[in-house]
Symmetry: C2
Subunit: 765 residues, 2 copies
Amino acid sequence: MPVTAIREEDVKDTQYLGKPRKLLEGLGKISGLTRYTGDITVPGMLHMRPLLSPYGHAKIISIDKGAAEKVPGVVAVLSAEDLVTRERTITSRSDAILAKDKVLFVGQPVVAVVAETEAAAADGLEKVVVKYEELPVISNHKKAMAADAHVIWPEGLPSSDIEEITHAAVEEQKSELEGAPSNVYKTSKYERGDIEAGFAEADVTVEQSYDLAAAYQGYMETHSVVAEPNPLDGGITLHTSTQGQFGVRNKVASILGLKQGKVRVIPMTVGGGFGSKYGTIEPLAAAVAYTINKPVRLMLSRSEDLQTTTPGPAAAINLKLGAKQDGTICAIQADITLDAGVFGFEFGGLWPLLLGSNYKVGNLLMNTTEVITNKSETGAYRAPGAPHTTFAMESSIDELARKLNMDPVEFRLKNLSETGDPMVNGQPWPSLGIRTCLEALKEHPAWTERSTGEDEGIGIAVSSWPCAFSPSASVCRLDTDGTVRVQVGSVDISGVNSSLVLVAAEVLGVNPDDVELIQGDTNMGPFAPGSGGSQVTYSVSGAVEAAAQEVRTQVLELAAEQLEARLEDLELKDGAVQVKGVPSSAIKLAKLASIAETTAGGHGPIIGEGRSAIEKNAPGTIAHLAKVAVDRDTGQVKIKQYVAIQDVGFALNPMMVEGQIHGGVVQGLGMGIFEDFGYDDNGQLTGGSFMDYAMPRATDVPNIEAILLNNPSPHGPFGARGVGEPPITAGGAVIANAIRDAVGVRVPQTPIKPPVLWKAISEQS
Amino acid sequence: MPVTAIREEDVKDTQYLGKPRKLLEGLGKISGLTRYTGDITVPGMLHMRPLLSPYGHAKIISIDKGAAEKVPGVVAVLSAEDLVTRERTITSRSDAILAKDKVLFVGQPVVAVVAETEAAAADGLEKVVVKYEELPVISNHKKAMAADAHVIWPEGLPSSDIEEITHAAVEEQKSELEGAPSNVYKTSKYERGDIEAGFAEADVTVEQSYDLAAAYQGYMETHSVVAEPNPLDGGITLHTSTQGQFGVRNKVASILGLKQGKVRVIPMTVGGGFGSKYGTIEPLAAAVAYTINKPVRLMLSRSEDLQTTTPGPAAAINLKLGAKQDGTICAIQADITLDAGVFGFEFGGLWPLLLGSNYKVGNLLMNTTEVITNKSETGAYRAPGAPHTTFAMESSIDELARKLNMDPVEFRLKNLSETGDPMVNGQPWPSLGIRTCLEALKEHPAWTERSTGEDEGIGIAVSSWPCAFSPSASVCRLDTDGTVRVQVGSVDISGVNSSLVLVAAEVLGVNPDDVELIQGDTNMGPFAPGSGGSQVTYSVSGAVEAAAQEVRTQVLELAAEQLEARLEDLELKDGAVQVKGVPSSAIKLAKLASIAETTAGGHGPIIGEGRSAIEKNAPGTIAHLAKVAVDRDTGQVKIKQYVAIQDVGFALNPMMVEGQIHGGVVQGLGMGIFEDFGYDDNGQLTGGSFMDYAMPRATDVPNIEAILLNNPSPHGPFGARGVGEPPITAGGAVIANAIRDAVGVRVPQTPIKPPVLWKAISEQS
């Protein structure tokens, strides 16, 4: 199965770090014993079902709750005006708790029915009668930008007064909009050199328009929350499936008009988030529970989840590249149009950076246009934007290499950005390993010994993700049974705890099985950023290391007294402190903890805190290769080989990183050839269930060879880089390039479903 | 109502410390919203009822579980041999999970019935048939010490391999027992000077035998626990009403044969503990849940709780005092006999120290004999021993003053121990305020302006409690809404959190309402000692102070950068840092926290840990006065006035300390004149319900004037001393002395119930 390329020399000085070790979460998840939000009950808990809008855009004429209120077991039937919340402008999907006056997208919650059982709530829901008056529906970005388009927000997109969660490290460049009201709510422009002169220099150009589908994050566990008012302090406690408890807390506090500290958010084990779980339904559950002053559970059905959460956006990219005969890229021009849903898209500013920063170029022009449509707010989906931009750029790069008759690896190597080269926004790249990844691919047998049969082809692609980073803290303490307990505020969405235990184990010389991770809620803390942007391992490891170091210091000082030895003669090994070279003169950590906790006038219990505030990001980069076989008669693509090479900086726990790569590749393939989160002209979902929305199944997925390169980042702990997002970015691009290699057609759209490919092949011949 | 004697000058430099402030726990408790262990449910939770032994001593011939197992809803019927535990010697009440072969006291659990409902468990219990063969019952210490007594443990009291919870700071002196097997399991002897010479010097002597009843701790919430096995790691989680989660964890881990870390103990709000809640029924609940691998709740009924927990012991004290005509005490001799129940009594070693250390004396002899009886193990009840020893000593002192015709205040002042004087064990008293208390009483109008009508009398008594202390730790962090969160491992049984918030508020210049206490469980930590021995405020305040100081340092450093000011020019005030004298140049703590949590390359989140390991104890001392009216015809005593003066060192939160004094005084009065935890000759409880066991009611309790003296201890934080235990110690003694003053009879026993007093009065006349 997977093979890693971790070099012996990278881990020769470590006992645990950098060496594969079991995932802590594994047993609980495969045995079904892990407790999720849906398993939580609190005394007196009620159940909520939301009534969702069936229309993409409509006025609410009336809501008749009478019949619903009479259903046995129904406790409350609430519409917007019933909710006790702060007076505010509604500016986001999560803040649009229940629709007032108008519905803006199919799936917008309109009424909440609360009952003693799920079934009674569902029964009540059927009796609610809402009368609507339909309004024109803007179902995609083309309709949104039409000259005579109905303008969804005639006074402009309402702007937020809620502090938003920062996802990525790169700041975006916005421009103010002028002119008549329209559905365009944001544009940005990046320019470098002279684009016209650039194309004038070019010997060959490639121009292509790409049509890129939206995708749903496809987590196994739908959005779920239990909201429990605390009548004692007028606050509320949430148990929820979230990627970031502090962000959810701040959002709910703002909407309810409470001090942050009155909202306690307890993050539960997350059954998949992938960017979606930053607080979409928590405000609804919280506001309802707060209003009726009773605990309420809301678990979305899959159908509700598909309709009412925040999928990734659809987009169009027009990309024109120019290169000289010697293979030097001399011009990159792009127009990006983002179909951002009804409240905009948080990450649009990233797109031009993701699209144009991987290659050196003197002349560049990038325009981004973000438009409003009658769909749920679009949100983050693992490396938001990068699968789309990589699809466009790597498809066009492939075509350009072909036009130049150059080897696609050599052509890329000639042009790839290096550390210090400017990104699209002019900022220099921090330590960048994209070239390292491609050089590793160049030497890999999948490339050096490549061969293809009839209708088979090989495609490659490279990509990068800047990776976010944030300050964080940790507390570490030594218990009297020798257990090292590490408290962090980060949510483990990806096995990160299975790396963090190794950090503490390494510092303290204890077996990782004797390290326990404690997950803090918003009250307990300590602070950590939300688990997104590939930032948690990078941001939190340093805090854990610092806290463990403080414990190490205390342990050694106490041991020096107990062993009557000098500090410099001591070493920590196998859960004990011993005099170097004298294993008989040793004292166990458990014993030291007991001494510390019982000695009057002594050291006091062994506990340390650690903080981390890294200065720079550590981009993660990849080079992927796929070999496909195309069935010309059906357009079916069979993936025969997949190699995923990734610069991970330093893999703290390679097994966890491999898992991340496997998952990311599968999701990238899904976006590339399976998944289309489409809407019809009325704004209705065309894939409103897993019967219609095609995610890859096990039989669709090839053996994935994950290769981890340790190319240390100079900025983070142990040289680590963010690893979660890069692997999702290239799946579509490598398959598109492999198809091009196999059957000679360039398909400029995602997903490349069989009918699409069949049609392209048909039109070619 | 109560008046404190806190001096203005003691609190002139503090903003919050030392000034009365509301109790954090109050609203929840009076509104019924506080959640106790009995309010906890976990998925799949079952209910347990224990079958208790009806015999004080018997062989178990057979247990027939068949009929019980057939009761609908019954899931398991377990006896000792069914339980999955470590092989071990049973050495304590808590370890005697279910009786094997023999029962040793009425109330010993024999069988556990587990069912889907409480009712089904109770139904099942009725169907269990246990056949016993009765054995001789040793129901009190006199019977135990009879020459022909049946020896309960012919091979000696089994000795523990379980680490016990240390309650008090004073180490005990044991002596090895020799000779034939008997029910005496421990004796100790303290000797100073020459006791015979001492009495030879004496001009007057007083000798008296005191018969002192056992008492039940009388908490409102019976022992309750929810035990939930964790099949993932083979461990178990307990939610429980306990005074010390770490001790319970270690006990349960030892009995189940698990690593401590596999047992997670989550301490719930405690509805009263008073020394009883250190893990009596947790091992039973844990072993049953662990055996059937299902979550189980066990809540004792009041009747079960009275029978099967660990009340304080009964005792006999023979005390002989000698004094010279000038009022100098020259000899103290005592024989203490402790009726210790079937597994012994942890705190017997303290008794001679408590009895004889308050007065200077050159010649002293104290013998203590602890004997086994067929009763539940005796345990701690708030200041274990001190109400009994104070009753004896202060009664005899009163008689001695009368014989000398001396003023009882002056006589005591002449003889009271001072800082540095030897205690019974020869160790010097640390800073001791007993004289200060009595001097304050001497000046109090209740003494200076005392007057009594017919059959009215005034009694006084002094007492001390050494107060325990242990290392502890705390974590403090600043949140982005300006809330200061303080994490501690101590259980709040007495409002201690309402003091700890003031410590953090004072250090950080924030309103105490903006300080939140976070209660750690055994996994979270940090470590703190169990809440007993009056040690928590004394032991934990320093850790909280240190953690808050670390936060203060971080806050000031960051503020200095932000305000471009020098550190020494800054002050913390009203939740902000400001340049001294320039309120316009200020930055809020909330803002600083946000900056810290978001600034790349900055300070990192604001968080600090603090540790404390005090070197010496800080005794708490009291002087109490009561005025009573005696009804000669009924023996009824009406308490007309009560003054409780206490050296509290420094009252961090005087309102909390007053509450402690009120509660302690009421319990002391209960032990003095109401409560008799008696057993008949068969070892059956004579007061097996609150219909029979008389605790004081509101109408029995006088107005209590609590006077707090700030006589700082040099060893602990802010000069604080332990305050919880001293106020319970003197209730019986002052009433006995007041009765003597009123009607001229000395009643040498507790409780002085009306029939007892009536009889004494009758015999006198």
